[in-house]
Symmetry: C2
Subunit: 204 residues, 2 copies
DNA sequence: AAGTAATGACACTGTTTCGTATCATTCTAT
DNA sequence: ATAGAATGATACGAAACAGTGTCATTACTT
């Protein structure tokens, strides 16, 4: 899809050092993400994936078996990365909501969802992984904050709140129609969503 | 993808009658939908599309130029069909909401969204068409009913209402995780969404 | 230092699949 | 009727692409 362009002189030959080996795996997954996001799964070729990672096809096959294996490894890796960075526990419900809005609208996550949705028939388990480590975790964190800051009887509002945080804009995002919101728009949207459900600080 | 199986004896040879010609176009689009939904865009082959429509590749190329043209024609056709069937104007806000929930969760519309989302980079204009004739129209109809039945000051709730009608379940639908809701579940979900926004009949 | 594991370079195979060409056949138009 | 248009049947060309084989090269292991 992207034309070979300046193939940036491959690495030196021969067995890599232990450090190189470790670095290589993460780099392969990172560059594979870029290629898959740009071209989609079907239109991404192994030659292109290999060139992007500055690696030969042989190495890709040695590591991941085949194209589907590489794709799956990449999604899994990203899903764990997504779930890891939920660690900022100084959040209030408001800042958490705003952060979630920004996160779910990030180009990276949107493109990942586009990919996995488009290939959900071929890779159903990846869809489950993505949902568990993404939406499900976000909802759980919202529920936790609602319970602590607003009262346990309102915890059930976490799921509808998340739907509002997505909003119509996120549908347009998935369809590739809208750009991501600015930080200010994200915060305003989060506040509006909280207000609609009576979850604003003063209204609670 | 699906193996040839019992290729159901193609049509008679030669030029078709005017009626056959008209019927053929609609049938091609209908069967193409089925194939694309089953296999996705990339994995659907022209041979399969032709066989499904009981037509030869020649005809497909004569009609649509190429695979992308067929795909685009199919989505456009379906989008107009989607927007047409919004005609039942005896709805109350409640029944409209429930009907929208059922509609957006239908296997057909979900698969269509999966397709278009997955190919939105290749066919951006189809994404726009689908959104305009789907979500946008639903929201407009909700707004209209809210204005008439609940008061114009609440019209702005149409968009968040639609987001709630989608709900987390629709995200799982797009990812292929959940089955469609039953009619009862859809109605209950719609009522709950209306209640959350203070749009229930007694609460308004 | 010898042997083994991992990799780059690169050619190659086999398959898939798009798209076209050819010819026979049947309808439409005049 | 006769010419032309549309189509089925079928084969084929060309390109793309997944995946493999081979050999040279470099690092790791003992």
């Amino acid at each position: 899809m992207g034309g070979e362009q300046h193939v940036p002189a491959l690495r030196k030959r021969g067995r890599p050092t232990a450090d190189e080996r470790r670095a290589r795996e993460t780099e392969i997954l990172a560059t594979a993400l870029g290629v898959f996001l740009r071209c989609g799964y079907g239109a991404s070729t192994l030659d292109e994936l290999a060139a992007a990672a500055q690696v030969t096809k042989r190495t890709l096959y040695a590591y991941y078996g085949d194209k589907a294996g590489l794709f799956a490894a990449m999604v899994r890796d990203l899903a764990t990365a997504v779930s890891r960075d939920a660690a900022t526990d100084r959040d209030t419900l408001e800042t958490l909501a705003a952060r979630i809005v920004r996160r779910i609208h990030s180009d990276e996550l949107v493109a990942l969802h586009q990919l996995v949705i488009g290939e959900s028939a071929r890779f159903p388990e990846l869809a489950v992984i993505l949902h568990s480590s993404g939406d499900a975790r976000h909802i759980a964190r919202l529920a936790e904050h609602i319970r602590v800051e607003r009262g346990p009887e309102l915890e059930a509002l976490a799921e509808p709140l998340f739907s509002l945080l997505l909003g119509e804009r996120h549908r347009r995002r998935l369809l590739g129609i809208d750009p991501p919101p600015t930080a200010a728009q994200a915060a305003a949207h989060a506040d509006a969503a909280l207000a609609l459900l009576g979850l604003s600080r003063r209204a609670g």
